[in-house]
């Protein structure tokens, strides 16, 4: 959050994406008004080349923007649209639609229909950029069959063969899990920091046994562990976005998503513990964040998925040389 670009977004989110707005969009599933505000500001075109009317930024420039989406629990797909518009522009698509676009890995059935389980923000997105092992499609959610998924703003989405044929088909394909892994790692880093700050504030404010609970050593140690995880996650997310193109590096994303997911679990548990095992009920803002810590830990592959990616890379391609792998993954100038 240390550049002019993300500072402008922070001000916008401070005004427009309050906890009350997030609650209202979670209840109604209608994020159109907030989306219009953010889209008008141009942030969703950050990764689109300048020749196509975008800001021409690369992935490492937008970590701050994606982290802010986590810090403000933004309930519309800003980071996903940013990525999708960039992929579409690079694929030569002209006249990219104005609406929000989320990303999903799909599977085309024998009858030509397409199903995607647990599409992130699938309940509020206007369209989905879906990839399988061969093609990508940009498909509207308008007439698609959407059913509730585990997180309130996500959805299982199904398009008939006819709807798939009517959509925009691209000859390229992408590993959407890689892109979602990178986005969710960045969003987690912002949400983790927000949860840490809220919990620190609570520990200073809440008086029990005659003093603020933050004066008790047990609480201080728990807050220290939260700080360790939050800052390690922030560095891991930076690594995940360390790319001079719009596409992240697979090994770095593996490190980033595994580490931020690990932190999400620890920080969520510690934050509720310090809040006296409360904070998960509707009226507390904390639950807006910790529900996302769990949802984003799961989205784009949880720890074990990315640990396996790293393990296979180490054994199959790096002769088991751990230090060499760490050096090449963390040397962000390379």
């Amino acid at each position: 959050m240390d550049d002019l670009f993300s500072d402008a977004l922070r001000q916008l989110l401070d005004d427009q994406c309050t906890p009350a707005v997030v609650r209202q969009i979670e209840a109604s599933g209608d994020g159109a008004a907030l989306w219009a505000q953010i889209d008008t500001s141009g942030f969703a075109d950050a990764l689109v080349p300048e020749a196509h009317g975008g800001a021409g930024l690369v992935l490492r420039d937008v970590l701050g923007v994606m982290a802010l989406c986590g810090r403000y629990t933004v309930p519309v797909p800003v980071a996903e649209t940013m990525m999708a518009r960039s992929l579409l522009a690079h694929a030569g698509v002209v006249g990219i639609p104005h609406g929000s676009i989320t990303l999903a890995q799909g599977q085309r059935a024998a009858d030509g229909s397409l199903a995607c389980a647990g599409v992130q923000l699938g309940r509020v997105a206007d369209a989905v950029l879906v990839s399988d092992d061969q093609h990508m499609w940009l498909l509207s959610t308008q007439d698609a069959q959407r059913t509730p998924a585990s997180f309130v703003l996500d959805a299982d989405v199904h398009w008939s063969a006819q709807q798939v044929t009517a959509g925009l088909q691209l000859t390229q394909h992408f590993d959407m899990r890689l892109l979602l892994g990178c986005i969710n790692a960045a969003q987690l880093s912002g949400a983790l920091l927000a949860v840490f700050n809220q919990t620190l504030q609570y520990a200073n404010d809440r008086v029990q046994f005659g003093k603020p609970i933050g004066k008790f050593q047990a609480i201080q140690h728990q807050l220290s562990v939260m700080a360790e995880h939050s800052f390690a996650a922030h560095m891991a997310a930076q690594l995940g976005c360390a790319s001079d193109t719009v596409v992240p590096d697979r090994v770095r994303v593996a490190v980033a998503k595994a580490r931020t997911s690990e932190a999400a679990l620890e920080v969520a548990a510690l934050s509720h513990s310090i809040h006296g095992a409360i904070g998960f009920t509707h009226e507390f803002d904390l639950q807006l964040f910790t529900r996302r810590l769990h949802a984003w830990r799961q989205a784009g592959g949880a720890e074990s998925y990315w640990h396996s990616v790293l393990g296979r890379e180490l054994v199959d391609h790096r002769n088991g040389l751990v230090l060499d792998l760490i050096r090449s993954a963390t040397d962000v100038t390379a």
Partner: protein, 73 residues
Amino acid sequence: MVEAALVKDLGTGVEQLIPAAIADDVFSRESQDIPLELLHTLNYVTQVAPSYSLRGGTRDILRGMIARGLGLR
């Protein structure tokens, strides 16, 4: 009483580990064919798991009782 505190603190750890471990397994598979009932149950348990530690004293209270039982206080 110390015995109860020992079991309760360990039990809280197990109760909170179970949904975390299931989520890690389920969301690390290539297949997206996860039964909806499992997802909903997992979601519910993940959200209420923090409250499990509350009944019968928070973990910090329990650990204080254990420390007293060990003669440290």
